[in-house]
Amino acid sequence: MYGRKASQLVKELTGGEKGQLKAFNDDLFNQVIKECSSHHVGLQALFRNMQEEGLDIQTTRNADFYGALIHHLSLTRNKRCLMAYMYNRAEVIRSLKWKLGRVLPNELVTKLSNSEKEYFKGYSAALDAYMNEMNLDLTVDMVPPKDPYIQVRVLDDIGEVLLTDRSANLARYSMHFLKRTDAEQYICQGLMEELLS
C-alpha cells in the first residue's frame, strides 16, 4: 500500500525512551523519497493522457483524474511523514545542545545525518548568539537553586579546568565543593555526580 514505508519511518520515532535518538534511517528515508518521485511520474503520465485526449484537468473527473489524485495524495502523505521524521528528530537534536553543549560525543554524532550535523551547528550558533546578546548563559540553572555550592565526585578524568572563581584539577574520583552552575554541565554530561550532604 502507498505510504506504508513512510509511516514505518515515522514509527521509528516512537518506542524507546523519551529524548532518545535512534540512528538516522538513511535507507528507508531514501526509499520514501524515491516513492515520491514515482508518484510524481505516475501523476504526470495520467495528466498527459488527459491532455492528449484534449480534456481539461481542472474540470474533468475521469478515471485518469482519480488515479492522479491518488498519486497526489500519496505524495503529500509521504511528504508529511518525511517532514515529521526530520522535524521531530530536530527537536531532540536541539535538546542535545542544551544538555551537552557544543561538542557531541561520537556515539551521538554517528546517529545524525549530514544535514542534521549542520543543523546542530547552526542551532548552536543561533542560540549562542542569542545568549551573547543577552549576556546570559541559559544552559545552566535548569533546576531551581538551593545552596550556591554543591559537593560532587568526578567520574572521569576531566583535568585542569578554569571555573568561575578559580581553577581546579578535576581528577577521576576526586571530590570537590563546586559552584552549582559550574558543576551542572559536568553532571549533565555524566562526568560528575552530585553528592548529598
Binding site: L13, K18, G19, N88, E91, V92, R94, S95, M142, P144
Partner: protein, 211 residues
C-alpha cells in the same frame, strides 16, 4: 507527541513549586547579630539574638542549616490544628479544609531542615501526610465524578502542589472530553454546561447560581 525534547519547560516541576513556596514568609528567632539584608526580593533584618524576625522561607532554611536561628512553625502546623483539619477532611466527602496554598511544600521544608523546632514533630508530620492522603483521595473521587460535559472546572481549595499533581491528567482528560463532546449533537449539552465543582468548600458560593 511521541518524541519530545526533554524537559518540557511548560510544566512545573515539584522543585519549581517548592521554589515558589520558598518565598513565603516565616518567623525565625536568630541567635546571632547580623546587619539588615537588602536583597532583590526585599529588605530583611536587622537580626538580633532572641528577637523574632520575618524572612522568606529559603532564608530561614539557609540560616537554620548553619545553626544561626530557630524557626517558628506557622500557626496551622500544630497537633491541635492539624487534628482538627484531619477530622474535618475525613468527615466531609467532598469539602476541602482551608490550608495555606503551599502547605505541602512548607511542611516538607520544615521537616527536612527544622525538625527540632516543631513541637511534636513526629505527630505533626504524620498528621500532615494523612491530611494530604485524604485530600488526594478526595481529589481523585471528584475527578471520577466528572460527567465530561463541563466547560470549566473549579478547584477552589486545592493547594499548589495538589494542583500540580493532578494538572497533567486533568488537563488532558478535559481536553479529550471537550473534543469528544463536540462530536455529539448540541441539543442536550445546555443543562450540563455550567462549571462543575471539584469541591464544594464554601457553602452558598455563587458559582452555580442563576440556573
Amino acid at each position: 507527541m511521541a518524541v519530545q525534547s526533554e524537559p518540557d519547560y511548560s510544566l512545573f516541576t515539584a522543585q519549581e513549586i517548592e521554589f515558589v513556596a520558598e518565598d513565603e514568609l516565616i518567623e525565625i528567632v536568630p541567635n546571632m547579630r547580623m546587619d539588615p539584608l537588602n536583597l532583590i526580593c526585599g529588605d530583611f533584618g536587622p537580626f538580633l539574638p532572641q528577637i523574632a524576625a520575618q524572612v522568606p522561607l529559603w532564608l530561614a532554611v539557609a540560616l537554620k542549616k548553619r545553626g544561626k536561628c530557630t524557626i517558628r512553625p506557622p500557626e496551622w502546623m500544630s497537633v491541635e490544628k492539624l487534628t482538627h483539619v484531619l477530622e474535618a477532611e475525613r468527615d466531609s466527602e467532598r469539602e476541602f479544609q482551608s490550608l495555606p496554598f503551599h502547605y505541602v511544600e512548607i511542611s516538607r521544608l520544615l521537616f527536612d531542615h527544622a525538625r527540632d523546632d516543631i513541637p511534636d514533630g513526629y505527630m505533626v508530620r504524620s498528621l500532615t501526610e494523612d491530611i494530604r492522603d485524604v485530600r488526594f483521595h478526595k481529589v481523585q473521587s471528584s475527578l471520577e465524578s466528572f460527567d465530561g460535559r463541563t466547560s470549566a472546572v473549579q478547584i477552589k481549595s486545592l493547594s499548589a502542589m495538589e494542583v500540580n499533581i493532578v494538572r497533567p491528567f486533568v488537563a488532558r482528560a478535559l481536553q479529550s472530553f471537550q473534543k469528544l463532546d463536540s462530536l455529539l449533537p448540541d441539543t442536550d449539552s445546555m443543562p450540563n454546561n455550567q462549571p462543575q465543582q471539584a469541591d464544594k468548600a464554601a457553602k452558598g458560593r455563587r458559582v452555580l447560581r442563576g440556573r
